[in-house]
Structures are given as structure tokens and as C-alpha cells.
Symmetry: C2
């Protein structure tokens, strides 16, 4: 799981997304210590300030908290993390159905198209 960016959206925003994904999928488990801002910035090949900005956003969302010199930790609350995962999924579902609606597809057609897909 490496770091890649699209160029279409701000890097800091993509960092937020990818870090959030790692948290809700358990790559960074609840309560675990994350790497330092400088380390993560180095891995992702971005400026430390950019990584810091992403971290601030995660903190604002209550996903992580920092302890001055000890480092930064993932929230130790599996339930709220699970809730976030469900919330993110719901957002994607809503956006997806809305877009398909704009294209003129009704829900049952969408479901039919999905069931035809070959994916796991």
C-alpha cells in the first residue's frame, strides 16, 4: 500500500483520504501509534507541512490525537471507527445513486447493472 496522487486534486486532500482509509480498514489499528509527521512525509514524498495539514484535518475529524512529544495516535474507539466506515460508504452510495439518477437510471436499473458486473 504505497502513496500515489492524482494531480487533479490537492495532495493534502488525497492524503486525508488515504490516511482515513488506512484507519477505517485497520491498517492503523485503534489506539496504535502512527509514524511521525516527518517520517510519513518522507515516505509519501511530500513536504512535511503538507502531511501536517492532512494530520490536522484528521485530528479535526476526531480520528487521531497527538501527544506533544510522544507522537500521534489513532483514536482508541473501534465503534466510532466502524461508524465512520459506514458513513463513508453511505456517502458514496448517495453520490453514486444521485449521479446515476442524473443520467436517467432508476435504482432498479442500477442494481441490475451492478449484478451483471464481474467483481468480488
Amino acid at each position: 500500500m504505497s502513496w500515489t496522487f492524482s494531480g487533479e486534486r490537492p495532495i493534502y486532500s488525497q492524503l486525508v483520504e488515504q490516511l482515513q482509509l488506512r484507519i477505517v480498514t485497520g491498517v492503523y489499528p485503534p489506539g496504535s501509534r502512527m509514524e511521525t509527521v516527518r517520517e510519513l512525509a518522507n515516505e509519501a514524498a511530500v513536504n512535511p507541512n503538507t502531511m501536517q495539514r492532512a494530520m490536522s484535518e484528521l485530528e479535526r475529524r476526531g480520528l487521531v490525537f497527538s501527544q506533544r512529544t510522544a507522537g500521534r495516535f489513532v483514536t482508541d474507539d473501534p465503534e466510532s471507527i466502524a461508524a465512520l466506515r459506514a458513513e463513508l460508504a453511505q456517502e458514496k452510495i448517495d453520490r453514486f445513486l444521485g449521479e446515476m439518477r442524473k443520467l436517467g437510471y432508476e435504482k432498479r436499473e442500477v442494481v441490475a447493472l451492478l449484478e451483471r458486473e464481474e467483481r468480488t
Copy 2:
């Protein structure tokens, strides 16, 4: 059907999207003449150049063509327009399933969630 923009993405890109949507859903029927760049720009409250840029992109995609002083017209080929609609839908499906996969949802779970939705 008015013009609204998000601020997160370039306006010209959102114009392309919305114009394309109007074409594939028949708001601008095949072969019909569109309003002038200046008129459309005025309606959408954007700079004429921004609308022009969107138009150039639609032209590049073969959706419209321009006749110097007569104006701009929608491609007169219902089938290719229908094909585009299907293509856009497929793109959305692929992206959606990919994102849900990243969140750890398998296709059958996604379908189950969708069927639980109260939408038409």
C-alpha cells in the same frame, strides 16, 4: 435546470460535465442548435472564455460541432449519444465499486446496501 458549481473543481470541467449531461439526457436533442457561447456564459454567470473552453472539450469529444457564424450544434447521431450515456454510467459503476472495495465492501454487500435504499 440551473447552473451551480462546487468550487472544488475547475468551473470549465463542471461545465463540460453538465453540458454533456444535458446532451445525453436529451435536453439538447441531437442536431439541435445550442445557444451562443456568450449567451450560455451569461446564463451560467461565467466568463465567455470559460464556456468556450468547455465547448472546445465537447467538440474534442465529438459531441458538438461549430459553424463559424451560424452557431454550434449537437451531433446528429442518436446512437453515439446513447453509447456515451452507457459509457458514462459504466465509468461511474467502476469507480463506485472500486471505492467501496477499498472500504472493504464486497459486491454482494454493496448490492444489499443499495436495495435497502429508498430511492426511485
